[in-house]
């Protein structure tokens, strides 16, 4: 079945791949078959809408997209009160950069913060790196959702424009 999936798959995004694979693996039949068929029929009959949707989905091709659902799970990212130190260090870095024209010692402070940050990144990278990848996809996902939300409305407006 995996070979059949690979041959039939014409999705643009990792999320589409997941959805199509899940649908093909749903036994005995996939959910909401009528609604899915209506959606397919709608897209088959509207090439302009299809093109618009495709342009939106193409931003979601990075393999980190496969892990997006995991970010949506409760407590996917666990935080502790002391994690606020990251924000404090960031604020201190901004402040010292701002202070450089007035106080040259701020350069040394900024270098010191850079070293501390480097050490912190080394110690936390094992936990942060797996989260950062899917997190980077969030922006593309929400933008895609926003575009799909208005795709049909914009498409209707475009249709009302007189043909040149």
């Amino acid at each position: 079945m995996d070979a059949v999936f690979a041959s039939l798959d014409r999705t643009e995004s990792t999320l589409g791949q997941q959805a199509l694979y899940h649908r093909l693996r749903s036994a005995p039949a996939a959910d909401h078959a009528d609604a899915f068929e209506a959606l397919v029929t709608r897209l088959v009959g509207d090439e302009a809408l299809r093109g618009r949707v495709r342009r939106v989905l193409v931003r979601l091709q990075h393999p980190y997209g496969y892990d997006l659902w995991w970010l949506a799970q409760p407590d996917a990212i666990q935080t502790r009160p002391w994690h606020v130190i990251f924000t404090c260090i960031s604020a201190l870095a901004v402040a010292s950069m701002w202070a450089i024209p007035f106080w040259h010692g701020a350069v040394l402070l900024l270098i010191g913060i850079g070293v501390i940050n480097l050490l912190m990144r080394i110690t936390t990278s094992r936990r942060i790196a797996p989260l950062a990848g899917p997190f980077r996809q969030l922006s593309a996902l929400i933008t895609a959702g926003d575009a799909l939300r208005t795709a049909r409305r914009r498409h209707r407006s475009a249709r009302r424009l007189p043909a040149r």
């Binding site: 589409g16 068929e37 495709r54 960031s90 989260l131 959702g145």
Partner: protein
């Protein structure tokens, strides 16, 4: 509840996105600071983000604030993921159908009530090139099975796979590679292409026994099942293979459930034994000086030919060996007839 797929138009999905996307915009603003993947913005922009990260610890700070947003709007995010995925999956099926308009035959399935007869017309495997594929048709009556005979490489196993794959496609993406598909919703269960399991220490036969018994247990269900068997019990001796296969297939039919059963076999004896409950079909072949020639077209009735020894001869086996094999085959046939 996946709110994105309801009704009969794109509107419910759009309405779902209209509700769920706005609360996520703050999360998008936060996610901006964790950087972009290099596929989207290029290596240079990505490097710039890395330098910013070094001084401002952006990723850790972003996670700290983002975690709170994710906890608050995780459910909405999950719905948006589902909606975007479903739109793309639907796009994929739409593109597939558009591609198929130009070549292969395809149809939307007609779903029948449980216990109805099944009809597959001009069905072909999606992985076989349309120019080479030979479409085949078959009807499956409830309460009767189908036995398919034919030489090796004649297309028996491929046909079983064709039926299984098209049934799955019909029931999941409402698209099948056939000119007509009329069937109830089946649970597809197959016993095709088994292998021995070295890690579990199971022989080919034991692995097959376990798989077949799982299917026999599944046949007790009242919901329709489509059972596909490729050469049942081929890992054991001929006498017990035929006896066990007959018993298993009778067991499946005798449950008087709305199941459909398609089995491929080399055993002509099995076709004789199950004449009262199974319809026979075969894939014909002819022997030419260049080897076996297959039509890959399913025809009614059991296979009238037997070509294993002729193939040995064709591939250069010594004449004495062929003569001995033919004599032995004649003797075995005589014994079976008695």
């Amino acid at each position: 509840m996946r709110c994105e797929l309801q009704g009969a138009d794109i509107d419910p999905l759009v309405a779902c996105l209209r509700d769920d996307v706005p609360p996520l915009r703050r999360l998008r603003r936060i996610a901006f600071w964790v950087g972009r993947d290099s596929m989207a913005v290029g290596e240079q922009a990505n490097s710039f983000f890395e330098y910013l990260n070094l001084f401002f610890l952006l990723d850790a700070t972003t996670m700290f604030f983002g975690a709170r947003e994710l906890r608050a709007h995780g459910a909405a995010l999950l719905r948006v993921i589902g909606a975007v995925g479903d739109v793309d999956a639907a796009m994929s099926v739409a593109s597939l159908r558009a591609d198929l308009q130009e070549g292969a035959t395809w149809a939307r399935p007609r779903v029948l009530p449980s216990g109805s007869p099944t009809t597959f017309a001009e069905m072909q495997h999606p992985l076989i090139d349309t120019a080479r594929a030979v479409p085949n048709s078959i009807a499956l009556a409830p309460g009767r099975g189908v036995l398919i005979t034919g030489s090796n490489m004649s297309g028996k196993s491929t046909f079983l796979r064709t039926i299984g794959v098209n049934t799955v496609l019909a029931q999941t993406i409402n698209t099948c590679f056939a000119s007509r598909y009329e069937a109830p919703v089946f649970h597809v269960r197959s016993c095709i292409g088994r292998a021995d399991d070295l890690l579990a220490g199971k022989s080919y036969y034991i692995a097959e026994v376990e798989a077949v018994l799982a299917l026999v247990r599944a046949s007790e269900s009242a919901s329709p099942h489509l059972f596909l068997f490729d050469e049942l019990f081929r890992g054991t001796n001929a006498t017990e293979r035929i006896a066990a296969a007959e018993s298993v297939l009778r067991e499946l039919i005798d449950h008087a459930r709305p199941h459909a059963i398609v089995t491929s076999t080399h055993d002509a004896e099995l076709v004789d034994l199950l004449r009262d409950t199974h319809d026979a079909y075969h894939f014909p072949d002819t022997l030419s000086p260049d080897g076996l020639v297959f039509t890959y077209r399913l025809e009614p009735g059991p296979s009238p030919t037997r070509n294993a020894i002729a193939l040995l001869q064709l591939h250069g086996a010594p004449p004495a060996l062929i003569e001995r094999a033919l004599r032995r085959a004649e003797a075995l046939d005589q014994r079976m007839r008695e």
